[in-house]
Symmetry: C2
Subunit: 289 residues, 2 copies
Amino acid sequence: MSGPELSKTIPETRERLQAVRNAGKSIGFVPTMGALHYGHARLIEAARSENDFVAVSIFVNPLQFGPNEDYSRYPRALAADIDLCRSRGADLVFTPSVDDMYPEKQLTFAEVGKVGDNLCGAFRPGHFRGVVTVVLKLLNIVQPDRAYFGEKDIQQLALIRRMARDLALPVRIAGVPTVREPDGLALSSRNRYLSPAERTAATVLYRALLRSRDLAQAGEAGASVIKKEALRVLESEPLGKVQYFDLVDENMQPVDRVTPGIRAAVAVWFGSTRLIDNMELVRIDKDSQ
Amino acid sequence: MSGPELSKTIPETRERLQAVRNAGKSIGFVPTMGALHYGHARLIEAARSENDFVAVSIFVNPLQFGPNEDYSRYPRALAADIDLCRSRGADLVFTPSVDDMYPEKQLTFAEVGKVGDNLCGAFRPGHFRGVVTVVLKLLNIVQPDRAYFGEKDIQQLALIRRMARDLALPVRIAGVPTVREPDGLALSSRNRYLSPAERTAATVLYRALLRSRDLAQAGEAGASVIKKEALRVLESEPLGKVQYFDLVDENMQPVDRVTPGIRAAVAVWFGSTRLIDNMELVRIDKDSQ
């Protein structure tokens, strides 16, 4: 099985994808920061099943890391990443350098107002501005029909969905369910930072989310009751330091009452590693919409 | 001669233009706020000469008007505008409503950092954020090969050029020289607000710019000398109230010395009407680039 085409530059990528469009083929796009895991594989599979041509980008975007964050130590694993792209049938892997993406000082940024204010946005100033700006730029380069993002980064997904609507981007934004380890830990490129003891403790995010969902599905609608119980679960784990636990609506605004579509979202530090996760507490009944 | 097609909605416009693209035709785009004059005609002519299909949008964008600005009284003249579009050979006129463009509260904005800080940007907070955001949205709807903007709004042009580069927009941004009345007044939809006396006085912008250019071309390179002399010309006109006169580089940053490409930019109030104009003082020698 031959591997995907590799493209390192913006002009090369544009030219290749223009030929794909000219041939009347649809394009699915999976933007990533590399260090790919099975969660990314599911994004590529989703793109593969809905499009004629699948492009994956691998770019660790400096704009979205704060000065004290893990940009320099963020895992890079290009050979393994390309193998994974090949195994899931990606057609093109785009690996621009920082100089390709930002040949001059980036002056233009997109921001999505209140959707980025809470949860991670409250603790990582500038992070989502960097995320939505690079995603917008990648979408302008690739010009896909559909772009795929994991639900694990739910605030990122909400921001990108809203940006796409607000700016009339000619792309469908697709969310793909979180993939978990057998014990419930959400897959993340940052899980590899965890010590064995931290790795064991890290299931506490999932346990707190499950407990919240159980409460909600048993009829508890009070956000404060659910939040208190979830924090009790989270704080029972001495290796973890809770950053936030909140119930939010689709615009990532805190709510007082649980209604269909409301999600619980959580962030916990384990040493110098920060993990996030989220879960829909009561499913939206799609049939009734 | 049949008139241009008219399109009022985003889906209708997208569908029509997708058919144009599928036919392998290039698209030139002229975004306007209507109240079209001969300056706009030149934009449409430029688009006509370089593209297979020409789309013009007419949309008075509320996002770019401040609370005390002239949004509600901004001139609307749709029938005459469509006549002008017809006479210059436009193929499609897109006239979305405010509800089409902003069906929900706009949370997403693009901003272009320091390029928008000076000149008009210093006096119209939020104005350029509204401008670049609506232009980005219109570009996403029309997806043109080339988009045309007048050099009269030089800061707007600089912002849009920089946004296009920073966001890798798949479009070429073209600037079209300012069109002037025989006495030098730059064409503007707002000129119709002027009383006869103000209209006569309004040539002072052009006179101050010409005087600046004459000085620069005679070898005067000191920005402060040129600025002082231009202000003397401007202040000789009692009906005008100068808002700014500055010498700026291509990123709209003030300069101390005149070099090729530097522009003088000016804004003057006449009663409740604000006029702007600008001029390159020493031409960039294109052959030497």
